[in-house]
Amino acid sequence: MEKWADNKAWLLVLPVFVVVAFSAIIPLMTVVNYSLQDIFGPGNAVFVGTEWFKEMLTDKRLHDALGRQFIFSGLVLLIEIPLGILIALAMPKKGWSASASLVTLAIPLLIPWNVIGTIWIIFTRPDIGLFGVGINSLDLLDIPFDHTARPAYAWVTLMAMEVWHWTPLVALLCYAGLRAIPEAYYQAAKIDGASSWAVFCYIQLPKMRGVLTIAVLLRWMDSFLIYAEPFALTGGGPGNSTTFLSIYLVKLATGQFDLGPAAAFSLIYFLIVLLFCFIFYQVLLNVGKGEKIS
């Protein structure tokens, strides 16, 4: 669609600009301000330049948290995207069963994030949880299952929770993409005698490319920013084994009141996110273009 060129359109964008600037730019400037000073108390601060940035960039705990974050977000994508596609393919196409499936799928998405943590604590605890008691009664593990005791168990629980919570989003997106494929494509494939695998590779997957990009974008970003669920489930432990970037940042900022380092960390964190955001945005734009040409 050809757009009208008119700079007066800025007037329509202005309210959004003001409200988002109030909640984004002013706070961000405050963070920059903190990151360059050593603050002892109100009105008692010393300019320290880039010292906090140097300290944070060489902070081993930050490197560990970043590493864990990449592993976590990577695993999230590896598990949730294929699973979501499979669910979307298996879902009924019309009628009451389609509505019922959609509603069932959407329910985990509308549960407050720390309640998700609570649900999984109750579900996996070794004394009262169905999963915890169940797996321990099978007697398969050398050490009884307890997500607060061992890093491996904490990770398994966390991944199970994450997959349980967010795979429905991927499935819903893929389902929307599948519904947008015209029936004629399938009829043509039938006439050609294409196998269902061929239909998937040459019709469904290419047509889902747009929604899949959005799914990957949302899942990567949101798992990168994850806070409430691990906070409620493990509190970052045992040890530091599930301390992701947000959890470490909040610990640093509100637990120890290290404003300077926390602010420097915030900015580094924000820049990493911004970088990925930019890459994904470019991909999104180009995906749209490719479809228009074809």
Partner: protein, 267 residues
């Protein structure tokens, strides 16, 4: 045969999806002593005492009221701000439109933890700590960009000729926008409202930081209980079940537009 296998797998998945929620429901209908003493797959002595406690104790039920207030405020604010902006993005080319759109997107992706410290200071300075409006405004950070994004998708689906015809017919811009255009994209407005509701309802970090007592939402009340002594699992579970209810109701109303909205109007 193949179709049946698929349906079976899907039903199995839904069973896994429902199991943790069922378990919480089970816990919510039992007393704490019962939960800790016996392990049982279903509540044998059903009791409603957990729910009664929530509905009679103000520290609990006010959490729900507070959350509902700021979530509604945020939804209305996000829509009011985003509608004109989304129209501008879908219809006009203007200086810096691409950059502006990307900047909005980055706010949806910004880590809330980054904004935690300055938010407390900023809202203290303007005397808004512990008010509903503070949380509603803070949630605008990610909801307004999202609303613009979804609405822009829906609006771009409406041919521009409609606008041109209306202007030729002598409609003023506000009259056209409110009487003709918004009714055309009402599905999109509904989906956007749903998403704003959802993301504001599930958010914890801002809601917990910006409230003390007067506007404290239920999710924050629940985290205090977790850290307090002597966990009451039954009460916690009942609270959890009650936080699912509003979301489930909203889902039912928008179920037909849900999938499209999840793709942010870009299908």
């Amino acid at each position: 045969m193949k179709v049946q296998k698929r349906t079976f797998a899907l039903l199995f998945y839904f069973l896994l999806l429902a199991l943790p929620i069922y378990w919480m429901l089970n816990m919510s209908l039992r007393s704490n002593a019962d939960i800790l003493s016996t392990f049982s797959l279903y509540p044998s002595h059903i009791t409603l005492e957990n729910y009664i406690k929530i509905f009679t104790d103000e520290t609990w039920y006010s959490g729900y009221i507070n959350a509902m207030i700021y979530v509604s405020m945020n939804t209305i604010m996000s829509l009011a701000f985003a509608l004109p902006a989304a129209y501008a993005f879908s219809r006009y080319k203007f200086l810096g439109d691409g950059q502006m759109f990307f900047w909005l997107l980055t706010n949806r992706m910004a880590p809330p933890a980054v904004f935690l410290l300055p938010y407390f200071q900023l809202y203290s300075t303007v005397n808004l700590i512990d008010t509903h409006i503070a949380v509603a405004l803070a949630h605008c950070l990610f909801n307004v960009p999202l609303a613009v994004w979804i609405l822009e998708g829906f609006m771009s689906g409406i041919p521009k000729e409609i606008d041109e015809t209306a202007f030729i017919d002598g409609y003023s811009f506000p009259r056209f926008f409110f009487t003709l255009f918004i009714p055309l994209i009402r599905a999109g407005v509904g989906v956007t409202a749903f998403f704003c509701f959802m993301f504001s309802w599930v958010e914890l970090l801002f809601a917990r930081t910006l409230t003390v007592t007067e506007a404290k939402p239920i999710v924050a009340t629940m985290t205090r209980t977790i850290s307090a002594t002597g966990l009451d699992w039954g009460l916690l579970a009942a609270n959890g079940i009650l936080t699912i209810v509003p979301g489930a109701l909203v889902i039912w109303f928008v179920r037909n537009h849900l999938a499209k909205g999840f793709a942010l109007g870009r299908v």
